[in-house]
């Protein structure tokens, strides 16, 4: 599903692989389940135009932040609107900022369909990253530890090496006298 969606959205193969790898990496964990759910919600959100329609409505004059009003305006059921609201708020595309103001947080013009899709994928990616980070653990002595395993193809190795080199250079700038944490990166064949 991720591959098909990624291809349709014109993502590069390595970006699609990264999504798939992240999905596999956290298999059978809470994080994995949540990422799977978010991915399915993203698919639903992109395949059903009512989500974009709701976002567009929020900036229209005379908009009423009332599910029943939105349902009437879009010829949907109240439940359909509420499910759409759940997806939109969950992905951070809509904010119910006050009791009478809903704000479109998609940060994209509505005439730009591709831009909307990319923005939705970007939000999914951000949330997946945040969820993976929240999987960090507290180790001995109350110190934070974090570990991740990412499987890649041989063709992506040069790009990964470049990324590691950049990370190493930036991390060196952070070096301080107190040595409390260490970052270790290892590349090895899968198996």
């Amino acid at each position: 599903m991720i591959k098909n969606l990624g291809e349709r959205l014109g993502l590069r193969p390595e970006e699609i692989e990264a999504f798939i790898a992240r999905e596999r990496q956290a298999a059978d964990t809470v994080v994995s389940r949540e990422i799977r759910w978010l991915t399915m919600e993203t698919v639903a959100l992109l395949s059903d135009g009512s989500h974009r329609a709701i976002l567009e409505m929020t900036s229209m004059e005379g908009f009423v932040p009332d599910t029943r009003w939105v349902a009437r305006a879009l010829d949907l059921t109240v439940d359909e609107v509420n499910m759409a609201l759940s997806r939109l708020t969950r992905l951070g595309l809509l904010e119910m900022a006050t009791a009478n103001r809903w704000v479109d947080r998609s940060e994209v013009g509505h005439s730009n369909g591709d831009g909307f899709a990319q923005q939705v994928i970007r939000r999914l990616s951000e949330q997946a990253r945040r969820l993976s980070a929240s999987n960090d653990e507290e180790g001995p002595g109350g110190k934070t530890t974090s570990a991740a395993r990412i499987e890649i193809g041989a063709a992506q190795l040069p790009a990964l090496m470049e990324l590691i080199d950049r990370l190493r250079r930036e991390a060196e700038d952070l070096q301080q006298c107190e040595r409390e944490y260490q970052l270790e990166i290892k590349i090895a064949p899968v198996g």
């Binding site: 809470v30 389940r33 949540e34 759910w37 399915m40 919600e41 698919v43 639903a44 932040p65 009332d66 599910t67 029943r68 349902a71 109240v78 439940d79 609107v81 509420n82 499910m83 759940s86 997806r87 708020t89 969950r90 951070g92 904010e95 119910m96 900022a97 006050t98 009791a99 009478n100 945040r130 969820l131 929240s134």
Partner: protein, 119 residues
């Protein structure tokens, strides 16, 4: 004093059937006359927490969520994060003035945070 459980919510793939089932079983009534069209359950017992039924999207799973009353939703979301939870829905101000957020506890159970408009 700790924070009380104020509400519970059944998230159902068939909200009408679910509401009908519980109304017949427990003599509850449903009131959807609110800005979200939310099926508020009225037990008319004068005891216990109030509840409601919310539609579950096809990609989700039917479940029950407890909503704990807090005086500041954003503060408790942050506190939950620090304790190992994660955010499902960040703080939202609902059309009727209530404020809510949804979090996962470290086990992956969804828990609601709720600040009623008439606190």
């Amino acid at each position: 004093m700790g924070q009380p459980v104020l509400r519970w919510q059944i998230i159902s793939k068939n909200p009408d059937q679910t509401a009908d089932f519980y109304c017949r079983l427990f003599d509850w009534t449903i009131n959807s006359d609110n800005a979200l069209g939310y099926r508020m359950i009225e037990t008319s017992s004068g005891r216990g927490a109030e509840g409601g039924v919310w539609p579950c999207p096809p990609e989700g799973q039917a479940t029950v969520v407890l909503y704990v009353a807090v005086d500041d939703v954003a503060t408790y979301v942050e506190k939950a994060r620090q304790l190992g939870g994660s955010v499902i829905i960040p703080p939202q101000k609902l059309p009727d003035g209530d404020e809510m957020a949804l979090i996962y506890d470290p086990e992956g159970l969804a828990v609601g945070l709720f600040k009623p408009a008439k606190a």
